[in-house]
Amino acid sequence: MSTATVDQPADAAPAAAPSVDRIAITVRVRRFNPEVSAESAWVDYQIEMDPKERVLDALHKIKWEIDGTLTFRRSCAHGICGSDAMRINGRNRLACKTLIKDINPDKPITVEPIKGLTVLKDLVVDMEPFFQAYRDVMPFLITTGNEPTRERRQSAKDRERFDDTTKCILCAACTSSCPVFWNDGQYFGPAAIVNAHRFIFDSRDEGGEQRLEILNEQEGVWRCRTTFNCTDACPRGIEVTKAIQEVKRALITRRF
C-alpha cells in the first residue's frame, strides 16, 4: 500500500492528537468468493493497529484501505447485535468484542467463518438454518385465557429464573461451535435451546410442554454431549450448557 490516506495520520499528525502506539499485525483471513473461484484461500494482510482496538476495526481497516472485496457482516460494533460472530484464532467470537491485545498480536490472527453453516462469501454464512431452528422451538410467549387489563404479575424471583437466557442476541457463536452441530447441522443447537429455555422457565408462559416436546425429539436436547464449547463461545456470558441441562432435567421430571 503506497497511497497515503487521510485517516492514517503519518508523521504529519498534529501534536495534540492523542498518542496511540500502533503495532504491526498480520490478519490471516480465510477468503472465499464463488464469483471468482471455487476454492477458499488464506490471505494475509499486514496492517498497523492500536492493540486496544477491536478485531472488527482491523477488518474494517483492511476493507476500507486495502481490499474492498473483503466481506463480513457487522452493525453495532459493541457486541449487541450479533452480526459478526466469526472464528478468530480458532475460536468463535464476536469481532467487535475481541480486542487485538487480548489475542496475542505477535502471531498472525486467523479469521474464518463460523463452522457448520454454508459459507456464502468470505465470512458471510447462510443464517437461515440457524434461524429455522430458532423458529422451530416456538420462541414466543404462549398464554391461554383472557388477558389481564394490566400487566401479568411476576415476582422478582420468577423473573430472575430465566434472566440469563434473555440475554441471547442470536449471534450463532454457540451453535456453530458445537461439535454435534458441525456433524450434520440437524441438531437444534444450543441457541434454539437457550431461547426455548427463556420461555419454558418464564412463569407467565403456558407453552412449555409443547416446547419440551419439540426438544425431546431425536435432534433435540438429547444430542448435546456437554462439550461446553457453546458456553465458552457465548459472547453474552450466558451459561448455555447449564440452560440445556435444565431443559433436560425439566423433561425428565415432567415425564415421570
Partner: protein, 580 residues
C-alpha cells in the same frame, strides 16, 4: 429483476418496523424489507428504558409526562402528538409485557420503574420513576420480543434487502425498489401502502453511539424523491459515550445514582442544573461536559473527557441493574467500574428530525398535505414528539406508539385502496445508481470521504455550533459530494457486495449531512440539541417553527436545498424558560 406485490410493505425491522408489522400482518398481506436480520437492528442497543406513567412505584400521570416531553423538546414539540405519546405509552408498555417482554419487577410483581433524565413529578418538581426497564438491555428485550411476536404472527421478512428507492406515481405511493444483498438482484415491490421505519443516520458523526448501518437510507430516499425533511438540525448528543469510541453508557447509570465528575473530582452538574443535577436533559448535560473540557477541567492527558463515577454504588446494584455497561467498560477500556470512574464524552446519538408525519404516521409532502399510502415511524420519522431534544426513554416509546399507529393506518389504507400502477421502468433510478458505482473508475475511496465527512461534522456541527463552523461544514460537504462523484468500489461482484452498499450509504449520509448543516445554519437561535454560540438564546419570535428542507433540482440539473418552515402545534403548554 423480480416484481413482488404486497398490500403493505414495511421498510426496516427495528422496533418501529416490527411493531408496525405485527399490526399490519393481521390486517393485510404484508412484507417487511430489512437490510439487516431483524434482531440486528439498532433498537437492540437501547439500554435505559421506556417511559410510561404507569405509576407503579410512585405517583405519576400522563399529563406530567406530556409536559416533560414538551419541555424536554424545548417547546418545539407538536403538543397534540406529545399528548398521544404520553397517553398511549401506558398501553404500549402493557402490550409489550403481554407479548412477553421480561421487565424488571417490583416486590409486588408489577413492572418496575426507575428515574431518567428530564422526567419529573408535577411539572418539574423532582425526578420521577417513569422508565420501565429490563435490566440495562430494554431495547434488546423490545427487539427480541417484537421479533418473537413476528415469528408468532408469521410476518414475512425479506432479510438483507436494501430499499434504495421509493416509487411514487402521480403523487401516490406505488411501491419501493430494493437491492438483494445476497445476489445483487433488484426487486420491485409493488404496494398499496409503504411504511418507512429505517432508523437514524448518526453515522455522519465520528464519535457516535449509532451502528455502522445507521446511514439514514430512509430519509435520503424520501428526500431524493422530493419529500421534505423536518428539523434535521436537531441531533441529540448523549452525554455519556465511552471516550473516543462513542459506545453508549445509558443515562440509567446516572438514574441509578452515577455522578459526573471533572478532573478535580467536582460534581460539576450541580453548577449547571441545581435541581436535576446529573439527570438534567441531555443537551444540557452534554454542553456542560464540553464547557468543562473547554475550560480546562477535562480529565486525562489531553483533557478531553470527564468521568462517570459509579464507584460509590454497591457492586450488587451494578450487577443487577447495569450489567451490560459495566461489561463494556471492562471489555473496551479495561476499567473496573466498581473501583474506577469511567472516562466518557458526549456522543452523537439520536436524529430528532426526519421524514415529517402526522400523528397517524402519514408522511407529509409539505406543511399540510399527505402522500397517500406513505407512512413513516420511528427514528426515521419526525412526528415531532421530540422537538428540539428527545428525552431519554421516549424513543423506545415513540417506536412502539407510532410504529403501531403507522402499521394500523397503513393496513387500513391498503384495505380501502387499489394498487397504483408502477411508473415506467421503476428500477431505472436504482440500476443507474448501482451500475454507476460499480463501473466507476474514479480514484476516490468511500472510506476516505466518509472519514472526512465524519471529521468535519464532529468539529463543525456537534454540540457547539457557530455561523463559521456551519459554513465550514457546508463547504466541506459540498467538496466531499464533488469527490463522491468520482468514488469507485473495488468489489465489482454481485454476491454480498457490501463494498458497493457502503458507497450507496455514504451517498445518503452526504445528502443528510448537508441538510443538517444547511438547516442549522439558518436557525439563528439555540434550542434543545441545537446550540449556536453566536446566538445562545432561544428565539421564540422567529424560530418557534419546524424547519422543512426540500431538495430542489434546477432546470440545469443543479441541486439545492430549499428551506421552509412549519408552525409548531401548541395546545396547552406555553413556552417557558427551560431550567433543570
Amino acid at each position: 429483476m423480480q416484481i413482488h406485490k404486497y398490500e403493505t410493505i414495511i421498510v426496516g425491522a427495528g422496533g418501529a418496523g416490527m411493531r408496525a408489522a405485527i399490526e399490519a400482518t393481521k390486517r393485510s398481506r404484508t412484507a417487511v424489507l430489512t437490510k439487516l436480520y431483524p434482531t440486528r437492528s439498532h433498537t437492540g442497543a437501547a439500554q435505559g428504558g421506556m417511559a410510561a406513567a404507569l405509576a407503579n412505584v410512585e405517583e405519576d400521570n400522563w399529563e406530567w409526562h406530556t409536559f416533560d416531553t414538551i419541555k424536554g423538546g424545548d417547546y418545539l414539540v407538536d403538543q397534540d402528538a406529545a399528548e398521544i405519546l404520553a397517553k398511549e405509552a401506558i398501553d404500549s408498555v402493557l402490550d409489550l409485557e403481554k407479548m412477553g417482554l421480561p421487565f424488571n419487577r417490583t416486590p409486588d410483581g408489577t413492572i418496575d420503574q426507575r428515574r431518567f433524565g428530564g422526567h419529573t413529578r408535577n411539572h418539574g418538581e423532582a425526578a420521577v420513576r417513569r422508565s420501565c426497564y429490563a435490566s440495562d438491555r430494554t431495547g434488546h428485550m423490545i427487539l427480541q420480543t417484537l421479533y418473537q411476536n413476528c415469528v408468532k404472527e408469521g410476518v414475512e421478512f425479506f432479510n438483507e434487502f436494501y430499499v434504495l428507492d421509493l416509487l411514487i406515481n402521480e403523487g401516490r405511493t406505488a411501491g419501493v425498489v430494493a437491492y438483494e444483498l445476497a445476489t445483487g438482484e433488484i426487486h420491485i415491490f409493488q404496494a398499496k401502502a409503504v411504511v418507512f421505519a429505517s432508523g437514524g443516520c448518526g453515522k455522519f458523526f465520528k464519535v457516535t453511539s449509532n451502528a455502522h448501518t445507521l446511514t439514514g437510507d430512509g430519509q435520503a430516499v424520501a428526500f431524493r424523491r422530493g419529500l421534505p425533511l423536518e428539523d434535521m438540525e436537531f441531533f441529540q448528543f448523549h452525554p455519556t459515550g465511552i471516550w473516543r469510541m462513542g459506545i453508549l453508557l445509558t443515562e440509567g447509570a446516572r438514574g441509578e445514582g452515577g455522578i459526573l465528575r471533572n478532573k478535580d473530582g467536582e460534581r460539576f452538574m450541580e453548577r449547571y442544573a441545581p435541581v436535576m443535577k446529573d439527570l438534567a436533559s441531555r443537551d444540557v448535560v452534554s454542553r456542560a461536559i464540553y464547557t468543562e473540557i473547554r475550560e480546562g477541567r477535562g480529565c486525562g492527558p489531553d483533557g478531553d473527557h470527564v468521568y462517570l463515577d459509579l464507584t460509590h454504588l454497591p457492586p450488587e446494584q451494578l450487577d443487577a441493574k447495569l450489567p451490560d455497561i459495566t461489561e463494556f467498560a471492562r471489555t473496551y477500556l479495561g476499567i473496573e467500574p466498581y473501583t474506577d470512574p469511567i472516562p466518557i464524552q458526549p456522543t452523537a446519538h439520536y436524529t430528532m428530525g426526519g421524514i415529517p408525519t402526522n400523528v397517524e404516521g402519514e408522511v407529509l409532502s409539505n406543511n399540510t398535505d399527505v402522500v397517500p399510502g406513505l407512512y413513516a415511524a420511528g427514528e426515521v420519522a419526525c412526528v415531532s414528539v421530540h422537538g428540539a431534544n428527545r428525552l431519554g426513554t421516549n424513543s423506545l416509546l415513540d417506536i412502539n406508539v407510532f410504529g403501531r399507529r403507522a402499521g394500523i393506518a397503513a393496513a387500513a389504507y391498503a384495505a380501502t385502496h387499489e394498487y397504483v400502477e408502477l411508473p415506467e421502468s421503476p428500477e431505472s433510478e436504482v440500476v443507474r445508481m448501482v451500475e454507476d458505482l460499480r463501473q466507476s473508475t474514479g480514484s476516490e475511496r468511500v472510506s476516505e470521504i466518509r472519514t472526512a465527512l465524519q471529521e468535519t461534522m464532529d468539529v463543525n456541527a456537534m454540540v457547539f455550533r457557530t455561523e463559521a463552523t456551519l459554513k465550514q461544514a457546508v463547504a466541506d460537504i459540498a467538496e466531499l459530494k464533488e469527490r463522491y462523484k468520482r468514488v469507485s468500489v473495488q468489489d465489482k461482484g454481485r454476491r454480498y457486495n457490501t463494498d458497493l452498499l457502503e458507497a450507496v450509504e455514504l451517498g445518503n449520509l452526504l445528502d443528510l449531512a448537508e441538510v443538517l448543516a444547511v438547516s442549522a445554519l439558518a436557525r439563528k437561535e439555540s434550542r434543545g440539541g441545537h446550540y449556536r454560540e453566536d446566538h445562545p438564546n432561544r428565539d421564540d419570535v422567529n424560530f418557534m417553527r419546524h424547519t422543512m428542507a426540500y431538495r430542489e433540482e434546477g432546470a440545469d440539473g443543479t441541486v439545492s436545498i430549499r428551506l421552509d418552515y412549519k408552525p409548531v402545534v401548541q395546545t396547552r403548554y406555553q413556552p417557558m424558560e427551560r431550567k433543570y
